[in-house]
C-alpha cells in the first residue's frame, strides 16, 4: 500500500514532495476521468437496469432487482418481501397480488395460507442483478439485428471500396510522372476545401437518378472517393524509395503487380490507419444515411437509435442497451488501437 502511495505521489522530478502544480495536474486528470468516462459508465450501468428501476427517482448506482421465488401452486415466480412491521414482522413473504394499500402475501414455507398485509409494513428483498433481458430483447423482439446488419454491411463494403480506389489513386499520384498530374492534384486539393455537407442536394439527385435511394449502395458509393484518404496514403507512399519500384520493374513485374505485391504491403501501416478511420466514419455516419434511407428496414444503427427516441419515448430500457451495443465496436477498436487512431486522426486533420 505504501508503495502504491509512493508511486502515485512521485512527482515531476521523480523525487521530493508534490508541489502544488502536481496537485492541480492530478486533480484535473481526475476530474477529466469523471467527466469523460463517467457518462459512459453511467450509460453502461443503466443499460442493465429493469424498466421499473430506470423509472426510479432518485436513481441508484447499481442495477438492482427484486428477489423472486417459485411458490407451490403459483405459475409465475413471486416477488419476495421482508416484513418490517405489523403482525408478520420478521417473516419473509411472497406477494401474490396487490390491491391498493393491501397486498395478498404467502409464506413460501406454507403456500396454502394467504395473508393480507399493509404495504407500508414490508420492504422488498433486493439484490444486484443485471437485466440481461434488456439486451436479449433487442435481438428477439426488435429489428436490432437488421440494423446491425445494415450498419455492418455499409461499413465493411464502403471501407473496402474506399481502401482499394484510394490506394490506387494515391499510388498514381505519388509514384508516377504523367501529363495532367498537377491538374488532378489541384482538383483533389480543391475538393478538400468544399465540405461534402454542402453538396447534399445535388448528390441526392445523382443518387436518386441511379436508383440508389433507400439502398445501402446509396450510402456507400458517394463517399467512397474521399480526398482525405488519397492524401493520407499519398503522403505515406511518397516515402517508399523509387529504387524498389525500379527493382521490381527490372524483375519483370507489371505495374499492377508492383502496386499489389510491393506498394500495398509496404503501405500497410498507412492503410491500417485509414481502414480504422474509415470504419469509424462509416459506423458513426448520420446525416447522409438520414437523407438516403427513409425506410425503416434500411436503417443503420445510428438512424435506428435516433428513431427509437421518438418511438419509445420513455422506453429507456431498450434505448440504453442499443446505445451500448452501438458504441461497443468503437470502444473495442479504441482499446486495442488507441495509439494508431490517435496518430491517424491527428495526421488527417480530422476530416
Amino acid at each position: 500500500m505504501a508503495r502504491i502511495v509512493a508511486f502515485l505521489t512521485r512527482t515531476r522530478a521523480g523525487k521530493g514532495r508534490m508541489d502544488w502544480t502536481d496537485w492541480v495536474t492530478y486533480g484535473y486528470l481526475l476530474f477529466g476521468i469523471v467527466l469523460m468516462f463517467g457518462p459512459v459508465a453511467w450509460l453502461l450501468l443503466s443499460s442493465f437496469k429493469t424498466g421499473a428501476e430506470l423509472e426510479r427517482f432518485p436513481p441508484r448506482l447499481l442495477p438492482v432487482a427484486q428477489d423472486t421465488l417459485v411458490v407451490e401452486g403459483y405459475d409465475e415466480p413471486l416477488p419476495l418481501f421482508k416484513m418490517i412491521a405489523g403482525d408478520q414482522e420478521g417473516r419473509t413473504l411472497a406477494q401474490i397480488r396487490r390491491v391498493g394499500l393491501i397486498a395478498q402475501m404467502v409464506d413460501p414455507a406454507e403456500p396454502e395460507t394467504r395473508l393480507k398485509v399493509n404495504v407500508a409494513d414490508r420492504e422488498p428483498i433486493e439484490r444486484i442483478a443485471f437485466a440481461w433481458s434488456n439486451y436479449t430483447d433487442l435481438f428477439e423482439r426488435l429489428n436490432f439485428p437488421l440494423y446491425l446488419w445494415n450498419s455492418t454491411a455499409i461499413t465493411l463494403t464502403a471501407t473496402a471500396i474506399m481502401l482499394v480506389i484510394n490506394s490506387m489513386a494515391a499510388f498514381a499520384l505519388s509514384k508516377y510522372k504523367f501529363r495532367g498530374k498537377l491538374t488532378v492534384l489541384a482538383l483533389v486539393i480543391g475538393t478538400l476545401m468544399v465540405p461534402g455537407t454542402v453538396l447534399l442536394v445535388p448528390t441526392f439527385l445523382l443518387v436518386s437518378q441511379f436508383g440508389m435511394v433507400n439502398t445501402l449502395w446509396g450510402v456507400i458509393i458517394p463517399g467512397a472517393a474521399t480526398p482525405t484518404g488519397v492524401f493520407l496514403l499519398r503522403q505515406y507512399m511518397i516515402t517508399i524509395p523509387d529504387e524498389i519500384l525500379d527493382a521490381a520493374r527490372m524483375d519483370s513485374a507489371s505495374e499492377l503487380k508492383i502496386f499489389w505485391r510491393i506498394i500495398i504491403p509496404l503501405s500497410a501501416p498507412a492503410i491500417a490507419v485509414l481502414a480504422i478511420l474509415a470504419i469509424m466514419w462509416r459506423w458513426n455516419d448520420f446525416l447522409w444515411p438520414l437523407i438516403v434511407l427513409s425506410e425503416n428496414d434500411k436503417f443503420t444503427l445510428q438512424l435506428a437509435l435516433n428513431s427509437f427516441q421518438g418511438e419509445f419515448l420513455t422506453e429507456w430500457e431498450k434505448l440504453l442497451p442499443a446505445t451500448v451495443l452501438t458504441l461497443l465496436p468503437v470502444a473495442i477498436v479504441f482499446m486495442f488501437l488507441q495509439k494508431y487512431i490517435a496518430t491517424g486522426i491527428a495526421s488527417t486533420g480530422g476530416k
Binding site: 525500379d246 519483370s252 513485374a253 509496404l266
Partner: protein
C-alpha cells in the same frame, strides 16, 4: 551474353540536356565502368540502358536490335541498385524468386535456381531472413543474387558499393570481379570512385556533363589521358599540373610561367611555338634528385614505406610528390625536383586536349 551499343544517345528533362549524345560499344562479356563526378549523367545513362528511363534521342541496341521501345522488363538485363532496393517485406528467398515468378517460371525450377545462386553467393543460410535482419554486406549479396538468379543478358550496377564501409568495399570489389569472370556476362558498372573503375574494369568510360570524355582500357586512360579532365580524374594521387608555353625557338622545350625550362621528347607532342600548354605529371613520377624546378616545401607526410611532399613552385602552383621510403626533406626547405620527360603529359591549355602526336 550481349553486346550493348549506344548511338548518339540523348536525354533531356524539359529544357535540361543531361546526356548530350553518347556513343559507346560494349562487347560480349566486357566489364565496362562508367565513371565521373556526381551529376555527370552516368546513372541516367545506365537507367536509359536498363529501360527505366525513356530515351529522348539516339538509339540503344542490345545484340544489334534497337530496344528504345522495349520495356525494362523485356530487355533481359538486370540491375543492382545503390540502395540495394531489396523488397523489405519479403524474405531473402522471396526477393530472389520474385522476378522468376513474374516470368512464370515453374516452381521447382525457381527453387533450384535460388538454391544455386544462394550457395554461390554464400547467402544460403539467410534465405528465410528479412532484409532488415541482414548486414550491409549481406544485403549487397542478396541484391547481386537477385540480379544473377534471372540469368540476364547483362548486368547493370548503379554505384553498388557506395553504402559499404571501406574494408567491405574492397572485399565486394573482388567478389564482383570474380563473379564477372565466372558468369562471363557483359556488365556495366557505374561509380564515382576511379579506384573502383581502375581495379574492376575491362573498359572505362569517363563521363562529364553528359558527354564521354574518353573510353578505353584502364591503363590506356592512365597512360594516355585524352584531356585534362581525364588526366585529373584517373589515377590516385591526383596528377600535378604546371602552366607554361612552348618555346618560340625550340619545339622540344617548354618555358614554365616561373621562367624555368623543361625538355620534352622531340616529336612526341605536337604544338606550335608560343602555344599555351599545361604539363601534367603524376606525383609518383616526380624525382627528388636532379636540378629541375624549384619547390618550397610546405608539408611532409612520412608514412614509413613512402613519403608525401607538398610544396609550391616558383609561380605559386601546388605540387605533390610521392617518393618511396623515407625522406630527409623537411618543412620550409627549398628543394629542386626533376620532371622525367618520358613521364610528362602535355595538353593544350585552351581546349584541354592532349598534344600527344600519335
Amino acid at each position: 551474353m550481349a553486346n550493348i551499343e549506344l548511338r548518339n544517345v540523348v536525354k533531356r528533362f524539359g529544357a535540361l540536356e543531361v546526356i548530350r549524345g553518347v556513343d559507346l560499344q560494349i562487347e560480349h562479356g566486357e566489364f565496362c565502368v562508367f565513371v565521373g563526378p556526381s551529376g555527370c549523367g552516368k546513372s541516367t545513362l545506365l537507367r536509359m540502358i536498363s529501360g527505366l528511363e525513356d530515351i529522348t534521342g539516339g538509339e540503344v541496341l542490345i545484340d544489334g536490335k534497337p530496344v528504345n521501345n522495349v520495356s525494362a522488363a523485356e530487355r533481359g538485363l538486370s540491375m543492382v541498385f545503390q540502395s540495394y532496393a531489396l523488397y523489405p517485406h519479403m524474405s531473402v528467398r522471396q526477393n530472389l524468386s520474385f522476378g522468376l515468378e513474374n516470368v512464370r517460371t515453374p516452381k521447382d525450377v525457381i527453387d533450384a535456381k535460388v538454391r544455386d545462386v544462394a550457395t554461390m553467393l554464400q547467402i544460403d543460410q539467410l534465405l528465410e531472413r528479412r532484409p532488415k535482419e541482414l548486414s550491409g554486406g549481406q544485403r549487397q549479396r542478396v541484391a547481386i543474387g537477385r540480379a544473377v538468379v534471372r540469368e540476364p543478358l547483362g548486368f547493370l550496377f548503379d554505384e553498388p558499393l557506395s553504402n559499404l564501409d571501406a574494408e567491405l568495399r574492397v572485399e565486394m570489389r573482388g567478389e564482383i570481379s570474380s563473379l564477372h569472370r565466372r558468369l562471363g556476362n557483359s556488365m556495366i558498372y557505374v561509380t564515382h570512385d576511379q579506384v573502383e573503375a581502375m581495379t574492376m574494369a575491362d573498359k572505362i568510360a569517363v563521363l562529364r556533363a553528359g558527354l564521354v570524355e574518353q573510353y578505353g582500357r584502364p591503363l590506356e586512360l592512365y597512360n594516355r589521358p585524352a584531356n585534362l579532365f581525364v588526366a585529373g580524374f584517373i589515377g590516385s594521387p591526383k596528377m600535378n599540373f604546371l602552366e607554361g608555353r612552348i618555346s618560340a625557338d625550340d619545339p622540344a622545350e617548354i618555358v614554365l610561367d616561373s621562367g624555368e625550362r623543361l625538355r620534352v621528347p622531340a616529336g612526341k607532342f605536337s604544338g606550335g611555338p608560343d602555344q599555351r600548354v599545361t604539363i601534367g605529371i603524376r606525383p609518383t613520377d616526380l624525382d627528388l634528385s636532379g636540378d629541375g624546378i624549384r619547390l618550397d616545401v610546405g608539408g611532409v607526410e612520412q608514412l614509413g614505406g613512402e613519403s608525401h611532399i607538398f610544396g609550391t613552385t616558383a609561380d605559386g602552383r601546388k605540387l605533390t610528390l610521392h617518393t618511396q621510403g623515407q625522406t630527409p626533406v623537411a618543412i620550409g626547405e627549398e628543394i629542386r625536383i626533376s620532371v622525367p620527360s618520358d613521364r610528362m603529359h602535355l595538353f593544350d591549355t585552351q581546349s584541354g586536349k592532349t598534344l600527344l602526336s600519335e
